[in-house]
Amino acid sequence: MIGDNPFHRISHLSQERARNRTEDLGDPKYAANLIHTALENGANGFTFSVSETTIAILKELDKLETISNVRLYPVVPYAFEYVRFAAQLGGIPGLVRRFGIDMLKSRRLGAIGYGLKGALTADPVDLMKTYLSYEISRVRSSTNKGRLDSVWLHQLITDMALALNLDWLFKSYFDFLTSRKITPGFNTGNFAFLAEKFDTWNIDLSKVLIAAPFNRVGFQMTPSAADCEKALMKMPKPVVIAISVLAAGFIPPKEAADYLATLPNIKGVALGVSKLKHATETFEIFKKRLDSP
């Protein structure tokens, strides 16, 4: 699948490089064309943080006649935007007030219902359901051609909840999405740790998607490449979407694909591209290499 990092001017190799990209990545039409090209060359889904930028891209994708449907994998919440809001609005209380106002303005009744309950009880599960209902409805109302396959919990939230042993939060997230026929997804920087915890907490690993870094140089593979590969072998079935596979541009696509082809239980790969040429070449390489026996 194609990822949205370049559209948010994110490069994990170099912030400077991301800032200096000359392509018009902030233009939803340009981004929609890139996604279209990737879909024509082997990608079959789009993963993105839910933001004004990506909602505008979804609307542009809808206008392209040659696209009939796209699998969508939104990541929630768009943590960095919220961290920035928190900085400007005075921390968590300011952020909660701002989100409450946005939600009321949106008139999304399901979310408002959970929100009122959450506000009265201050129950994190109700607050989470409020937020998820709001974001799911925001994505669905922006596209006719997109199909919501999975919703991924942002890495920062997943890993914070893992560190704090919030098994009940993971289970509530799992149940809430499963009841809506959406596969619960988790983006993590601690894949081995997550696999072990989910196993202990009896969260069915065959019914989730896990997005985690896998690459030849061990970039962002915590605590080590060997531990992550070992945990991958123990998965009951392919449920892992490999991310950071190019180590943010450090590894050539062919080498990255060769490495992934040696791993078991990889269901897919998420890649960000910023140029039309790369959208064609990169996805072709991965499709060809990972489809071959």
Binding site: H8, D159, T222
Partner: protein
Amino acid sequence: MGTEKLRVAIVGLGKMGLLHTSILNVIPNVQLAAVCEKNSLTRRVFKKILGDVPLLADLDGLSGLDIDSVFITTPTSSHFKVAKQVYESHLARHLFIEKPLTSNYDDSRELCALANRKGGINMVGYLRRFMVTFVKAKELLSEGYIGEPSSFRITAYSSDFVGVSESTEISEARGGVLRDLGSYAIDIALWFFGGFQLRSAENHSLTASGAEDSVLFSVYQEPNSLLGTVSVSWCEEGYRMPEVVLYIEGSKGAIEVSDDRVRLSLSNGNESVWFRHSLNDNVKFWLGAPEYYREDEYFVESARNGSVAEPSFETASNVDLLIDLIKRKLKKD
């Protein structure tokens, strides 16, 4: 300390408090013993999240909980008051304070004196000292790869207040750009080169009249005539994350280091570049960035072993001294 766990309390459950709380909960030999947060809405939301960990409205509640170490992650303006109470009420021996130490040099000196009298380990959270790229650059400089340094330039930029107006209340609560983002740049300059004299300073108010948003200052060091310029702003476009870049010019070459990479350029034309993944950046648990875990683990081990942790209050107070001098100069000019 043997096999006993270090009992830790967090004071202030904002962004940084939550991050430290989570990381400390996965560090072996640490027991999260209490959290203090004065905002009642935040306390209500986090009651279930923290489970059995006591969630207190004020510091007095820490008394009797047998706390070894307190992490202060409240807004800068309250660091001094909270730290003073921890020491004077004997609430804990060891203290970690998120950067900067306090909101002025006088308070920092008083806190240093208090810490010296009380003993225990103390440290300030200047994160870039635990970032593999900056550690590598310091090593290259110390080993003489670029010869004698003649000048340096530091930029510390974020987009936190881009497009924001009339926000002096929030920006002041964060201590102005110098204490917030500039303190990182100043700590790096002091860590790499030692003490300085201030030459010039100018401020540009961008969010509101009189706001400290974008500061440019220069320093020099006798007797080696080292010159440095530092530019700090939280109103720069395109900085999704705050970024600090240091460029050092030496007699045999130059070093450029950012959060992502280190570049060594020698006068003979040779160049080497290191990215994070070639610098052994892995940690046991990754939250936010690897250096957060490294920083907390280092402080915990220092407290358990009774070894000095750097940057200590004493070291970090020098950052507050330079900030006060810059602020005084800005007011005077």
